[in-house]
């Protein structure tokens, strides 16, 4: 390999040019991306109306900052590339976490596995004014139907759950003023869906 590079007989300037080529590509890509993400004309007009348009000095400062950043990328592009890969992975992980389903139920609150008919048997509502439909889970019957429709995989299990009042729930550890109970769609011990029959 060393002999191969020697046989090319390139000057140090040529080597430097070769080295900076990927850096140049990255710098151009970054600047184009940054240009595309600049505030819209509408936003610029709003800022102008508020008397906060970019001054000549700020423009000059921006040119200086972009020049320094461009030189850094041009020469230190391997470091920039590593940083970019790490940052992309971190962003992807953040997005996965953000898009994760937010259920109140957690595996520790599951009580027992049961069949839909077992769940329905104790779900009828006592309403002396007879304003509640005489169907399982009363007004929540339609939601129950939708919940069951989503349990198509043969590995799906129906579990009842109960969360005591003082326990934090969900992704953000929300507090509740009362107990929460309902049914969960479980697969391999993992919560994939929930139907809450009582809560605040």
């Amino acid at each position: 390999m060393f002999n191969f590079f020697n046989s090319l007989q390139l000057t140090w300037r040529a080597w430097l040019c070769l080295y900076t080529l990927p850096g140049l590509a990255i710098a151009v890509y970054s600047f184009v991306k940054s240009y595309k993400e600049r505030p819209s004309e509408f936003a610029r007009n709003i800022l102008k109306a508020m008397g906060r348009e970019t001054s000549v000095r700020q423009h000059l400062e921006n040119i200086l900052v972009y020049s320094i950043a461009g030189t850094c990328i041009l020469l230190g592009w391997p470091i920039y590339l590593v940083w970019w890969v790490v940052e992309s992975k971190r962003e992807a992980a953040r997005l996965v976490e953000q898009n994760k389903s937010d259920f109140d139920c957690a595996p520790e609150y599951l009580i027992k596995q049961l069949s839909p008919s077992e769940a329905e048997s104790t779900s009828y509502i006592v309403d002396p004014l007879r304003k509640t439909p005489d169907v399982p889970f009363g007004h929540l019957n339609q939601a129950w139907g939708l919940f069951l429709c989503d349990m198509l995989d043969p590995r799906d299990e129906l579990w009842s759950f109960f969360i005591p009042q003082d326990k934090p729930t969900g992704k953000w550890g929300n507090a509740h003023s009362g107990d929460i109970s309902g049914f969960a769609k479980v697969q391999d011990g993992k919560i994939l869906g929930e139907f809450i029959t009582e809560g605040d």
Binding site: K131, G138, L140, S181, I196, D200
Partner: protein, 157 residues
């Protein structure tokens, strides 16, 4: 977040503000959502509730609803619950909070303002279990200088 418009509770012969949204669980379960007409009503509706006694047991009913289907179009209770004039909130287990008396502190967020006292009612599956009042005092917002980080303290010249 702006302070939010309260739900209403018919209590005795009065209609009092209610700082709890008992309908939210029902809407979440059924996938119904409304349009917010302004920043003081992010949920897009205002419900009026009543505790109706039957056989010595108080139950929570939704008796009126004004909900924004769109910004302009307002729908009522019978649009969401066809052919019903009252809806038993059997899904509600938790505490209803009704602020009473003078406002001690205004907080520009949700239902976070403090009033002289709160009427608190606990429900289990829509059935009133117990109620009590809580007297509130003016929240202490005094800042202890010792707790201020050094970089935020005024530097002596």
């Amino acid at each position: 977040m702006t302070a939010q418009v309260a739900e209403r509770l018919i209590y005795g012969d009065k209609e009092i503000p209610l700082f709890t949204n008992p309908l939210s669980l029902y809407l979440k379960q059924t996938g119904i959502s409304f349009e917010s007409p302004h920043t003081a009503n992010w949920r897009g509706y205002v419900g009026t509730w009543e505790i109706i006694e039957s056989d010595g047991v108080g139950r929570l009913y939704l008796v009126k609803l004004l909900a924004h289907k769109t910004y302009e179009e307002i729908i009522g209770l019978s649009d969401v619950f066809p052919s019903l004039d009252k809806v038993f909130a059997h899904w509600f287990t938790g505490e209803l909070r009704c602020p009473q008396g003078a406002q001690l502190e205004y907080i520009h967020m949700g239902y976070a303002s403090t009033y002289e006292y709160d009427l608190l009612m606990n429900f289990k599956q829509g059935v009133l279990v117990e109620k009590h009042a809580r007297h509130n005092t003016m929240p202490d917002r005094e800042v202890d200088p010792a707790n201020i980080p050094p970089f935020l303290r005024k530097q002596s010249v």
